[in-house]
C-alpha cells in the first residue's frame, strides 16, 4: 500500500472529513477518468507530472473559455504525443470507432 495508508484509519473518526467542504469536483464521469489517467500514468513513469503541467498551462492559456477538464484531457493527449506513447491519429481512429457503435452501447464508465 501507499504511504498514505495511515490516513485511512482516521477517516471515519470524530474528525471525519468536513462534508460541507465537499463541493462537486467532477461534473461528469469522464472528468474523473481523465484525472485518474494522468495521475496513474505519472505514477507508472509513463509521463512526467511537470511535462503534463506545462501542457495544461498552455492549453488553459490557449482558450480560457474551454472547460477546465477539457483542457486537462487535451493536455493529456499532448503529453502522450510528446513521449510518442500515443499519436493523435490512433486516438482519432478509436474515437471514431467508438462513435460508430450502435446507440445504447453499454459504456464502461
Amino acid at each position: 500500500m501507499s504511504p498514505e495508508a495511515g490516513i485511512d484509519a482516521d477517516i471515519e473518526g470524530p474528525v471525519s472529513p468536513p462534508r460541507d467542504n465537499g463541493e462537486i469536483v467532477f461534473a461528469a464521469p469522464w472528468e474523473r477518468r481523465a484525472f485518474g489517467l494522468v495521475i496513474a500514468l505519472c505514477r507508472a513513469g509513463a509521463c512526467e507530472w511537470e511535462s503534463f503541467r506545462r501542457r495544461l498551462v498552455a492549453r488553459i492559456a490557449q482558450d480560457e473559455s474551454r472547460p477546465y477538464w477539457s483542457s486537462w484531457a487535451a493536455a493529456l493527449e499532448d503529453v502522450l504525443a510528446d513521449v510518442n506513447a500515443l499519436t493523435r491519429g490512433e486516438t482519432d481512429a478509436r474515437h471514431l470507432a467508438f462513435l460508430a457503435r450502435p446507440h445504447g452501447h453499454d459504456h464502461h464508465h
Partner: protein, 206 residues
Amino acid sequence: MSHAPVSERHEDPAVRVEALEALLVEKGLVDPSVVDEVIEHYETNVGPLNGAKVIARAWVDPAYRARLLHDATKAIAELGFGGPEGHMVIAVENSPSVHNVVVCTLCSCYPWSVLGLPPAWYKSPAYRSRMVAEPRAVLREMGLDLPQVLRVRVWDSSAEARYLVLPERPAGTEGMDERELATLVTRDAMIGVARALGPATAGTHA
C-alpha cells in the same frame, strides 16, 4: 455533423477519454484498477481533513508550528501526508497584521496532499485573475471583509511551490484539544478566503 477533426470536437469528451483509456490499457501503459484506486484515493482519503490536522497540530505544538513554517513538506510528511503528488508545500502564517491568500494564476496548482482536489471556483479565470489585482474586493465578495489595517499578501502557487495558509487560532478555543480544533479548520481557511470557524461551531461542522 461537424467537419472539424475529430480531436477538435468537444461535444462528447466522454467518448474521447474512453478511447484514450482503451488505447493506453492495450499498450500496457496504464492499469485501469490503478486509475480506480487513484480516483478513489483523491475522492475519499485525501481531503481538507489532512490539512486541518496539520493546522490543529501547529496550534497546540509550538515546536511543530516552527517546523511547519520552516519546511512544510517535511512537517506534513511527519503526520503521514504526502505521496507522489505531494510537491513542495510552503506554509504562510496569518497574524493580527497580515492575512495570506493563495491563488494559482497559471493553472490550478494546489496542495493536494493536504487539501484534496481544488474547488471549482479556485480554477475559474475570474478568481485566478482578480485575486491578484483586487484581493480585498474578491475576499469581500466571498464573505471575508478585512479591516484596512490588515496587510493582504497574495501567494501565486506554481509547480515549484504550493502554499498552505496557517490561519489564526480562533479566540475562545483554549480548552479544546487537537481533534476538536481540527473541526474548526475549513478548506477555505487554508486557502485564505475565510477564517477558521469559531468554537461555537465545533462539532456541527463535521
